[in-house]
């Protein structure tokens, strides 16, 4: 029997599923090998049990958390798909601001006042904190990045289909910059989170002239102290550095070490 694969959305732009749909060259071969039972961007079908459940998006509301627990109980493997699911992504920046303040910032004072008295006004209001998938259920594998990397997706699916344990090395983005003989971002007079961020993306942003903002999260052994000192030495303000660290990683599970 073909393994059943499902995709579930939580708070996200669904860009990761779109990134997958963009790999037309492999998608058809892949669909030969699996049974795709839930995929909001493409088809609609339901199943009682899943072999691999891909979770896209961060978790905000209690009902989302309950739904996630239900998916976990029906899945053999849970894969956190993309930066929202893995480490909260940009929406988790709101974790650093009181909800009412945040609401006012976005929708204005009048909206904030209404939301406090009208419970049906905006259900998202119920959220307390933006969480990564791992904060609620056990995650078997992470496909990091904003969006996720299609090659890593393929590596993961191939491994699981052939009864293997997928392996994604925990190295810095710098490794991939060197493999691509990239000019260091710091040499270009800009600053970069590459030295402390998970690679695996082939340093795609730097290859294309941008900098790394650690969308794949911070490495478990990230030397944040040394990086902070490096950023300060480049004349970057404390506030700007903090804002940079918080851009993608605010709901990141703190490393155990």
């Amino acid at each position: 029997m073909k393994p059943k694969i499902a995709f579930f959305d939580f708070a996200s732009c669904e860009g990761c599923q779109l990134a997958l749909l963009n790999c037309e060259d492999i998608l058809l071969d892949l669909l030969e090998l699996v049974d795709l039972v839930e995929f909001r961007e493409a088809i609609s079908e339901k199943s009682a049990r899943y072999d691999i459940s891909f979770i896209e998006g961060s978790i905000h509301r209690e009902e989302d958390s309950k739904r996630l627990l239900d998916i976990r109980s029906r899945s053999q493997y849970i894969v956190a798909l993309g930066a929202c699911a893995c480490n909260g992504n940009v929406q988790a920046r709101s974790n650093f601001i009181a909800p009412a303040e945040n609401y006012k910032l976005i929708y204005g004072e009048e909206a904030r006042n209404r939301v406090q008295v009208d419970k049906n006004y905006w259900p998202l209001w119920a959220h307390t904190r933006v969480r990564s998938v791992e904060e609620i259920v056990k995650v078997d594998y992470h496909l990091r990045g904003c969006p996720m990397d299609a090659n890593e997706f393929l590596t993961l699916v191939k491994a699981l289909l052939s009864n293997q344990i997928p392996h994604f090395p925990a190295h810095a983005v710098c490794v991939e910059c060197k493999r691509n003989a990239n000019e260091c971002v710091f040499d270009k007079g800009m600053s970069c989170l590459g030295p402390i961020a998970y690679g695996g993306c082939d340093a795609v942003c730097i290859n294309n002239g941008h900098v790394c903002d650690a969308c794949r999260g911070l490495l478990p052994y990230a030397n944040v102290g040394a990086h902070n000192a490096l950023m300060l030495s480049k004349g970057i303000s404390k506030e700007a550095i903090q804002s940079r660290y918080r851009l993608f990683c605010s709901a990141e599970k703190m490393s155990e070490s």
Partner: protein
């Protein structure tokens, strides 16, 4: 001037494919694989092979069969990661990739009772194995037992965590009938299992060994934590020269050719100069027994 000699045409990374003759579960996580190679391995005791499957990966596996096993290769594979997990799912007649043999291994000559080029006679051979350490040492014990009259007294100390993890018990029984061969089997604890051996650590029987110190060879293999304590016990009780103590070390081997760098212990490559070292070689290697 280019200093190169002619590059070899052969590709050292392509494995030979061997047919699995039998797979015997030894414990919950360990299986004995007996495979038939296309050509004899011609290995020395203590050497290892890279075993695996193309497309999946390979890992360093100690050779467990004796040097006279011809085209038959025996190895014990413990399920610890991705590759070994896949290997454990293989069946009889499936193919498995083998590269090797690699490493230094033991020279049987060093253990002979009468050996032409050596001034000292080896009257006692002490072999101490902890856990999976018995697996590579079996490749040394087998030829000693098969030609027992060429060797002096043999003292085996074999330790396991619990009776469930004890390996090759039937074969050990057969070794016991050889003359001048004393075998102590121990477990750390019986864990409510039947056990006819001793209970304790491999360090405990060491002081009771009845050996002629200057005519003794000692061989150790076990988990990294074992070496320090066993060596301390040996040094406290006996005066055995460092070059008469052999230690079989584990490192992360990738290429088996002394190139990829993963198995390096200070300046030596474990896959090339090791995994068997004389203790006298290790005193200079600060990373060896850490």
């Amino acid at each position: 001037m280019k200093t190169l000699s002619d590059p070899v045409k052969s590709n050292p990374y392509i494995p030979m494919m061997a047919e699995i003759q039998s797979i015997e579960p030894l414990t919950k996580n360990e299986m004995l694989f007996r495979v038939r190679l296309p050509e004899p391995l011609n290995h020395r005791p203590g050497q290892f092979v890279m075993a695996g499957l193309p497309g999946i990966g390979e890992c360093a596996i100690s050779i467990s069969s004796g040097p006279e096993s011809g085209k038959t290769l025996e190895m014990v594979i413990r399920k610890v990661g991705n590759v070994t997990g896949v290997l454990h799912k293989l069946k009889k007649h499936d193919l498995i990739g083998i590269r090797g043999p690699f490493g230094s291994g033991f020279e049987l000559n060093d253990f002979h009772l009468k050996n032409g080029n050596q001034e000292t006679l080896i009257k006692d051979i002490v072999i101490i194995a902890g856990g999976l350490g018995l697996v590579p040492l079996r490749s040394l014990i087998i030829p000693i037992m098969e030609h027992k009259s060429d060797f002096g007294r043999v003292h085996l100390i074999i330790g396991s965590k619990t009776p469930r993890e004890a390996l090759f018990r039937q074969q050990i029984q057969q070794w016991k009938i050889h003359p001048d061969c004393s075998i102590t089997e121990l477990v750390d604890n019986t864990d409510f299992q039947d056990w006819d051996g001793d209970v304790g650590l491999v360090t405990e029987p060491i002081h009771k060994l009845n050996i002629i110190e200057k005519n003794t060879m000692v061989v150790l293999c076990g988990p990294p934590v074992m070496y320090k304590f066993v060596l301390m016990e040996i040094k406290m009780n006996f005066n055995i020269p460092d070059n008469h103590i052999f230690i079989d070390l584990e490192r992360r081997m990738r290429c088996g050719l002394g190139k990829c760098g993963h198995c390096q212990i200070n300046h030596v490559y474990c896959c090339k100069e090791g995994p068997v070292f004389r203790y006298s070689q290790l005193t200079d290697l600060s990373e060896a027994l850490n």
